[in-house]
């Protein structure tokens, strides 16, 4: 038990700053911690960006869907187009032979 405590105390004494100033080591530790913090911030920022860029569907406006059908209009217009074609055939194309004439 006593031996363990001594080992612990000797470990703590190793962690102590020391009797002399060591600026190089201090700066090294400081810069290392700063770099670690910077890396962590970068990771968090990338994660937040990806979360923010994910589409949520909020604010989207549904596209306009016609509230009525124009099929009937289309069909009617198509019908009258066919009628117009037929009329032009009656006017210029069809030939009607008089049935009262003797067959030649």
């Amino acid at each position: 038990m006593n031996t363990d405590l001594n080992k612990y105390l000797s470990f703590l004494s190793k962690l102590s700053y020391g009797k002399r100033l060591q600026p190089a080591r201090d700066w090294f530790v400081l810069v290392s911690l700063a770099l670690l913090a910077l890396g962590a911030l970068a990771v968090v920022s990338v994660w937040m960006y990806l979360e923010g860029a994910r589409p949520t569907g909020e604010g989207e406006v549904p596209t306009l869907t016609p509230a009525f059908s124009v099929d009937a209009l289309d069909k009617t217009e198509a019908l009258f187009e066919k009628r117009a074609e037929e009329r032009s055939r009656y006017e210029a194309e069809y030939l009607f032979v008089d049935p009262s004439l003797p067959a030649s």
């Binding site: 596209t63 008089d98 009262s100």
Partner: protein
């Protein structure tokens, strides 16, 4: 040694203050960014709504035009006489004589109609062409009754007389 710890404590305080300031501004910027994003979405939604309204207006204009064209297929009540003149013109163009025997008002599926009884005289070809041209005229018109007889025979062919009844859809102005 005490001085070193003092420096370290001050450095930690400065570091903590910097971190707190950074966190504060970070959260502030994030909050403002969210507001901006919401506003952007709102602006996009309004723009989409405006676009939809414009599309609906355009569709309405097109629909109105098409409806007006379709209405043109029905003879207005007040314009039956000009329509009858038009019928006569069809016969003249095709070489027949069209006489209006009678005009009777009627109704079909809740809509007004005019029953038009015509006598079409001329060569067989002209009579048949006239009958067909009237049947397929750009109106809501149906041939409901038809009969034809040779009324005068000649060497070049007979003169034919046809009785045709058409039902024409009308509309009230």
């Amino acid at each position: 040694m005490t001085r070193t710890y003092t420096h370290l404590a001050i450095a930690l305080l400065v570091c903590a203050a910097s971190a707190a300031g950074y966190a504060f501004w970070y959260l502030h910027v994030e909050k403002t960014g969210k507001k901006v994003a919401a506003l952007e979405l709102s602006v996009a939604a309004r723009s989409e709504e405006l676009r939809n309204i414009q599309e609906a207006r355009n569709a309405l204009v097109t629909l109105t035009e098409r409806e007006a064209n379709l209405q043109g297929y029905f003879v207005p009540d007040a314009e039956v006489v000009p329509f009858l003149e038009e019928v006569g013109d069809v016969g003249r163009t095709l070489g027949s004589v069209v006489e209006v025997v009678s005009v009777t008002e009627g109704e079909r599926e809740g809509r007004g109609t005019v029953s038009l009884s015509l006598r079409i005289t001329g060569p067989f070809d002209a009579v048949m062409r006239t009958v067909g041209a009237l049947e397929y005229a750009p109106y809501d018109i149906v041939l409901t009754n038809f009969s034809a007889d040779a009324v005068e025979r000649g060497e070049a062919g007979a003169l034919w007389g046809a009785q045709a009844t058409y039902e024409v859809g009308t509309r009230t102005l």
